[in-house]
Structure formats: C-alpha cells, structure tokens
Amino acid sequence: MKGMVEIRWHGRGGQGVVTAGEILAEAAMEEGKYFQAFPDYGPERMGAPIKAYTRISDSPIEIHSQITSPDIVVVVDPTLIGLVNVAEGLKDGGTIVLNTSLSPQEAREKLGLEGKNVRVFTVDASQIAMKYFGRNIPNTPMLGALVKATGLVSLESVIRLTEERLGTKVSEDIIQANVKAIKEAYETVKEG
C-alpha cells in the first residue's frame, strides 16, 4: 500500500481520543486521501486507558486489522506513560508525540527509547487545556502538536474541522478556546 501511515492513539475514556482520530481522518479526506479511524473499545468507561487507530493513505485502504507496528504514536494522557507500553511496536524511524511536562529527552529516557531511531516530541497539552478550557481535555491541542511534528495534514484543515465538529455542541467561546489551544500546542511542541 503506497504511502500508508499508521497511527496509534493512547488516552483515557472521555478525553476525546476517538474524536481526535476522526478529525485527523476528515482532514486527510479533505486533502483527497484515503483513511480509516477506529477505536479499540473494551467495556471501559470514563477514565479507563483506551486506544484508537488512524490510517492515512494515498490509495484505498483494504486492511482491517488493528495496528501493531505504528509509524506514529500519540499519547494524549501523560499519566499513561509508564502505565501502558505506549512505544510498543513503534516502527524504526517512527515518531511519538507525548502530552507531558517532561522534556523530549526526559521522555525518551522514561520510555527506554535512548539510542533508538525514533523521533520524540513533547508538549504540555494538559496545561494548555487547563489554561483555555479549565478542564483536562487535551485532545485538540494534541492534534496541533501532531500536525507540527508530522506534517500529515495542514493546521488549517484541523482547525476548520475542529470548529465544525464542535460547532453544534458548544458555545463560540469554547470553539475559539480550542482553536487557540491547537495553535499554542502547534507552536510549543518540542523535539529531542
């Protein structure tokens, strides 16, 4: 499958992880690409560690297996680091984007990725979420960080689709807070 990128998301139920994966997929659609976005649901409810997957490709995607060796891992909840093996199966040359207050170097150490051919990005998305929403829902800022780290889709697409998604559910203030959070994460994500 020519040019297919596989992404695994880690987060907790209620943090909008599945939604983030879907927004990314929709952004890919707008850019004329093929995509899949699917959750790995258990019986869990809010707070339980969950995984979700996104595939983006230039050609139709036929595979319907889960993703075992992702090109990109996105960790939406910082407390999962150490609790869940978030780097499991990450491809050589792959990318991991973490929501954490740690520096990329510290995160690399904590995940046992020293010396590995893996790009590590960190952003304090929880702090950004608290700043703009007053609640720890770091999914949209993590999209901003992911876009900066990987260039998979454009920032503009992600912002517009986030606005559309939230449009019917929340007030204009909250939508604009999300836009600011996405931009701040985009600007402050660090590689190391």
């Binding site: 976005a37 019986p43 297996s65 075992t68």
Partner: protein, 399 residues
C-alpha cells in the same frame, strides 16, 4: 453516473445515512452495541424532522421485529437494525417475517453471542439466523454497508422475491470504523428505491385480508415450498439490482467478488471485513509469485453454491475462513465451510478441491495479515503434498 459526495463515515453512520435517504415509513428498533449508533443517528434524523418516518421505540428486540411485522403487513416500507443477543431475541419473529413474505430490511452489525459476555465482532449472531428464511448479505467496509442497505430495499421488495433482508457488517471493525464513503444524492436514492406498493395490505379496508392465519398438515408444507421457490430466484435479482446500482453509482455488485482467482492454485474464501485484509495478503504473495486467489461471498443466504463451485473448481486447495462455529457440525467447523462442502458435493460432479476450514476472529480477536499468510503457506503445502493435516484449524488461538 450520479453525482456523489465523499464523507467520513463509520459503517453504522453510513447505514443510518442510507436509511435517511430511503426514508422508510416505519422504523421500530431497540438499541444494542454495536448497532446503537444506527438507531441513535436515525432517531435524531426523525427528531430533527429530516425524515417523515414513524419511529417506534420498543421494549425489546422481540417487540421491535413484532412491530416491524405489523407495520409491514399494513403495507409500510419498514427497516430496523440489531446485533448479537438482540438478534437472538428476535428468533421467533424472524421466521414469521420471512414466512409472511414481508420485505423488511434489517441492518445487523455482527457481534459475538454471549457467554462469556462480549461486544466485539464475530458472525455467530447472523449465522444462527441463516435458516430463518431471510436473505443475508455481507459488507466488507462502510461503503459496501451503505450500498447494500440501498440495494436491500429493492431486493426485498422485488415482486419475485418479497422476503426480508439482513444486511451485515462487522461490529466495531467497520461499524465503528470511520472510512471514506461516497454517498449518492438523496434524490438519486429515492428514485432508485422508488415507491413501495405492498402486494397485500392489512389497511386495505375495501378488500380485507387475514395475515397469520393457521395452516396445518393440509397446507403448511406448501407455504414452505413457496419460500424456497422465492429464495431460488434471489441470485438473479441480486445480480440485476447490483448491475443497476453499478450504473447509478459506479460501484457494481454481484453474488461474490473474486480477486486473482483465475489462475490460482489455492484460494481463500472469507466474508466481510477480513476479505480486505486477505486481499492485501494475496497482493503481497502474488508479487512473490505465489498463485493464490481470494473469493469473498457477498450473498450468503440463499447460498450461491453453484456459482461458487464454478468460480473455485479449478483450484487445488481452498482455505475457508469462518468467523463463527456451527457447534456440533463435522469437526467443529464453521457454517461457510459446511455450505461450500455441500455445494461441491452437489454441483462438483464428484470432484472438487480439498477444503480446509480455519476458525478465526471469535469475540473480536484481531486477525493479522501474517496469520493469513501463514494459512496460505499451509494451503500450498497441502496442494503440494496432498496431505491434509487437519480439516478444521484455528487462526490466532492460544493453545
């Protein structure tokens, strides 16, 4: 070809979208994971006034199908959706819908039956209903789930058929998997499905009818024979409508789809989303020079045995992949294997390939390309040595 809009939809929303465009007269449904999203989305369409459908919230799936039967007998175009234990609870009424010749269309988002309690995909639910007299169609992805839902209306209501249709897709894998779906314009769908005019209606007060009267040993048998006659005409109708839908949408549908099968020495036969994964494996192995092909049945009931034998008779070994067990059947095999073996016995002139069954994916167990590749290697060994190590194997099972 009609204009289409590309949308990001999961399989459940794709079905709900098709239902919105079809705009049936009545939908009676009860929510159950992973079908809930269909009912939830469609009832929102009703609440928002986007469709002029009578939505009947009911207290159980038995009630859901009972309400559908009543509405359909009254002459309405009727749709519903369910999964797993909900489908099992409908068991009695499934037979009634088919026997009364009511063209109800039901979306089934396949999920494992309890126990142990499980919400993920396998095919045990709809396979348990395979003898109920319904037409059964499987979809590989959200696009097919959308397309099949629209075609199911025409198949069910065809004057030669008048039977209910179950339209399947894999729970979570495609039911909750967002993919690229090309959606027809509302007008095109409305024109394709047309107006439904029931053959008989309970509400025809000028010519009153009785539905559900009894028939004992004097007549019951004859009505069952009528049902098999109607089912025998289904393949032809499915083909015609699949072609007509292809002319409209650019996506043509048949009884099954074959991939790299013409010169194949070994073949995989598998339903639904796993066919996509298997196609990826076939493509890879073909590049390595391995003569493997794939056959994905779309119509499962009635089973197009004659056509499948014709398509598969030249291969040496067939690996059937079954996502359910027909408990108590030979060697603990699955239903697809049983049907294919019976088809070769019936239509194969006493000859046929070796057929081996692989049970996989029960309760949502993931199936990986490497596992299918391993299976193909085994099929090649059988083709080479003629020795079948076992008739029914398991993929992804811990010993």
């Amino acid at each position: 070809m009609a204009k289409q809009i590309v949308k990001a939809l999961d399989g459940a929303k794709a079905v709900a979208e098709a239902m919105r465009q079809i705009e049936p007269d009545v939908v009676a449904a009860y929510p159950i994971t992973p079908q809930t999203e269909i009912v939830q989305t469609f009832s929102q369409f009703v609440a928002d006034g986007l469709v002029n459908t009578e939505f009947i919230p009911v207290e159980s799936e038995h009630a859901a199908m009972s309400a559908c039967i009543g509405a359909s007998a009254a002459g309405a175009r009727v749709m519903t959706a369910t999964a797993a234990n909900g489908l099992a609870l409908m068991w009695e009424t499934l037979y009634i819908a088919a026997s009364l010749r009511l063209p109800i269309v039901m979306s089934v988002v396949n999920r494992a039956l309890s126990a142990p309690l499980n919400i993920h995909c396998d095919h045990s639910d709809s396979m348990g209903a395979r003898d109920a007299g319904w037409i059964q169609i499987f979809a590989e992805n959200p696009q097919e789930a959308y397309d099949n839902t629209i075609q199911a209306i025409r198949i069910a209501e065809h004057p030669d058929i008048l039977l209910p249709v179950m339209s399947m897709q894999d729970g979570f894998i495609t039911g909750h998997g967002v993919e690229r779906v090309e959606v027809l314009e509302d007008k095109a769908v409305k024109e394709f499905v047309g107006e439904y005019k029931a053959l008989y209606s309970l509400l025809d007060i000028d010519q009153p009818k009785t539905f559900g009267a009894w028939a004992f040993y004097d007549y019951y048998f004859e009505f069952k024979r009528q049902q098999t006659e109607a089912l025998s005409k289904v393949p032809q109708v499915v083909r015609e409508i699949g072609k007509e839908y292809g002319e409209l949408s650019g996506r043509y549908y048949d009884l099954f789809s074959a991939y790299e099968l013409d010169d194949a020495e070994v073949a995989i036969v598998v339903l639904a989303s796993t066919a996509g994964t298997a196609r990826v494996v076939v493509r890879k192995l073909r590049q390595e020079g391995i003569k493997v092909g794939l056959l994905k049945p779309r119509l499962y009931r009635p089973f197009p045995g004659k056509e499948l034998v014709e398509a598969l008779k030249h291969v040496k070994v067939i690996g059937v992949m079954d996502r359910s067990i027909a408990f108590g059947s030979i060697e603990g095999c699955g239903p697809l294997f049983l049907d294919l073996c019976a088809s070769f016995y019936t239509y194969g002139n006493g000859k046929g390939p070796q057929i081996v069954d692989y049970i996989f994916g029960l309760g949502g167990r993931d199936i990986l390309p490497e596992q299918i590749e391993g299976m193909v290697k085994e099929l090649l060994r059988i083709a080479e040595t003629g020795k079948v190590p076992y008739r029914v194997g398991y993929l992804g099972l811990r010993e």
